[in-house]
Subunit: 439 residues, 2 copies
């Protein structure tokens, strides 16, 4: 047997071993970017030749985490404006900084900084949506990060799309350009029902349908958005999207904080997916999404960090931990969103929402080799009674020692192999100095 | 000028520089465990002799974090039982495991594991309360961790105190033994109004008053506790403690989730301090403490992680981040508990609650040298517009490179100098194996 990469001696977190521990140490063999064989270490065939062997003794081997919502380039705005009323934050700080500082170059370097942060904290796939998304994709491909990358569409003059009349065509070119890419799945991100006209939303969804790609939209993030939607359309945001005919299995609704049971039924019947961003919703004072209800209604759900402007950290381990806890405190019920369920949301659940269930989200033979290794030999990861509990309530992104995406070793023993970190940090710091000087 | 330790070139977070950035690089000189001089690097006197120089270039230098609530030895129960109804978790799992596995040896080793975890994540002072607290203190002193260590008092047979009739005497011996220790401030922890009789609470507080030490008690953690208190005493838990005469400036009320305005007034008038443990309260589905009201009423407040049985992580950087966000989502107001305020709670605020304001909580000449260094040269800490925002919303405990407590270097470049980590992890894992085998 020949393989490109062989991981040995780690404890494997596989769908077959979801229990309180994950059994005996095992091996995972990777060939041509795919998990080609795996099993307990006793089953490792003799005479295996591997170009690279990673000894994962004392570590957990698990599928890479899937961040279902980010605007990666906004790392430039991390900590620029916090603890402010939502509209002051958005209009006086974020929109203003975006209008002045978002450029092709900015998106390239700041998305690369985000890629570094995500890889270092165990994310192997991200769903991103922004402007100049081509430059984000360029950055992610170099970094070796898997992405569902979506060109942003909004009915205002936007970075890279000064005339909103061009926004659909810009999206179409983006979809065309990245079609069939092994690492990048192109998509469309319509900003929201309150920043895009009905016509734009419908045209954007038509475009996505023609290309058979994901259609993302922010939905029901704040209570005020629902009030305004009812005033304007006499419908909740979800019911409004239903009336526009844009809800189906390829639509992904981001935030979904303020949904009632009617909205949940609408989303379930359409087969659409949802993404919750608990830390962003908390920090902006938006609210707590009814994540327990997503499960009750059987709605496919993933988790996202949202951007560094509203989080301000892209560590999915922090996100899963807070997601599990927010669901509990929101209903005063500690049994909601247990550790195993929130781990699913961050792996196979997220894969489903992004339409990538057959490729990522589980350690399974035949899936892409998107694998992370978590070093357990640390005080805060001692002892281990339950793998899921340890990952959700005790681990951090910094516990990820090694990351493999599509079979490529992108981080080894905390060292990024695909990104020149000092260069990226230098570039972003230089942009931040200019921003600070001008604002 | 001679000093024991000299930190150079770091950005100092001092009370004089609370603003959006902390100015020019500076130095901190330490002598006999005390901050002896500090200033901008240009003011560093020539001819300084230092036994040890730490170059903190590219790093923040800040006061160590203060964890105001822990039961350190409970690291043994990290992840033993999660996502369960509160009473099932407590009575069928935690109390049962405690009755069987808490011993002098267990408290020593498991508290040392906690000390390792806390030092590695930037905590320099912890308020601890448990049984066999002598062994916890022994462990902390060896680790070099500052603590307000409290012997637990409860009206049940408890580990180390099989006959509850001995609980006050056990507390008295503990206070006597550690009186005047440089690193350890002894105290009393009366478990709660629902697990201790009125007589026990009053006697325990009398003991604490005689010794001029802190008196801790869990209060109003769950809505049910308030309901039961009203049934039994026709008073809220806070009003009940007032009637017992045990509220004063040396009383520390832990959790305080379910307080109404009358309770807040009672606590304010008594001058008592409060401690919020947001992650524990979330994970157990207890609720969100009215932290904004603590500030509104002017009640001294600190933050704590609570134990590893209910958190399950002792990283205070995670705690401050969640505290800031929970306060916001609880009232749907993003301006509440801003980053600067939550950093205060974790430093000078906590020092005040613990009665140590003159010794710790700030980088100030004359205070104890309890100092941590945070390495900023990381993607998730780039860029930096505001020190407080970066620390609260982006940093993690693993970003702390160096830790100094009472002038002693206890962690250098992520290496623990005061703890034999493999030995401690080995001991705790062995205990966990026995626990798992027997339950």
């Amino acid at each position: 047997m020949h393989c490109d990469l062989l991981i040995t001696n780690g404890l494997l977190k596989t769908p077959g071993h979801p229990g309180p521990d994950c059994g005996q140490p095992g091996f995972v063999a990777v060939r041509d970017g795919i998990i080609s064989t795996m099993g307990s270490i006793a089953e490792l065939p003799g005479g295996v030749e591997a170009a690279r062997i990673i000894d994962a003794r004392g570590s957990l081997v698990l599928p890479g985490l899937i961040n279902c919502h980010n605007h990666a380039a906004m790392t430039l705005f991390r900590g620029l404006a916090d603890d402010l009323p939502l509209m002051v934050w958005l209009q006086d700080h974020i929109f203003r900084a975006e209008a002045r500082f978002v450029s092709s170059e900015m998106v390239y370097w700041c998305s690369k900084l985000a890629a570094a942060e995500m890889i270092l904290s165990g994310t192997t796939t991200v769903a991103d949506g922004y402007f100049f998304e081509d430059d984000c994709v360029r950055s992610f491909k170099e970094a070796g990060l898997r992405a569902v990358a979506a060109q942003g569409i909004i009915d205002f003059p936007a970075p890279g799309v000064p005339d909103p009349a061009d926004n659909i065509d810009t999206g179409a070119r983006f979809l065309q350009k990245w079609r069939g890419d092994e690492l990048i799945t192109p998509a469309i991100f319509c900003h929201s029902p309150y920043t895009c006209s009905a016509e734009t939303i419908v045209r954007a969804k038509d475009l996505a349908r023609q290309a058979d790609c994901r259609f993302f939209i922010h939905l029901a993030e704040t209570a005020n958005e629902v009030v305004e939607s009812r005033k304007l359309h006499n419908l909740s945001p979800a019911a409004y999207l239903k009336r526009l005919g844009v809800l189906d299995q390829a639509t992904v609704l981001v935030h979904c904080v303020w949904l009632d049971d009617d909205d949940l039924r609408i989303i379930k019947e359409a087969g659409a997916g949802v993404v919750s961003c608990p830390q962003s919703n908390m920090k902006l004072g938006a609210g707590a999404a009814p994540v327990d209800k997503f499960d009750e209604f059987g709605i496919p759900a993933g988790l996202g960090t949202d951007s560094c402007a509203s989080n301000n950290n892209l560590d999915m381990f922090r996100e899963i931990s807070v997601a599990a806890k927010l669901a509990k405190v929101n209903r005063l019920d500690p049994t909601l969103l247990p550790a195993g369920r929130v781990m699913e949301m961050a792996t196979s659940g997220g894969a489903g929402v992004l339409g990538l269930s057959d490729r990522i989200g589980e350690l399974t033979v035949g899936r892409a080799a998107d694998i992370i290794i978590v070093d357990l030999r640390k005080p805060h990861l001692t002892p281990m009674y339950s793998v899921d509990s340890l990952l959700v309530y005790a681990a951090s992104g910094s516990d990820v020692s090694t990351s493999i995406i599509n079979g490529r070793l992108v981080m080894d023993n905390r060292e990024l192999l695909s990104i020149d970190l000092p260069e990226v940090i230098g570039k972003v710091n230089e942009m931040a100095r200019r921003l600070k000087a001008e604002t």
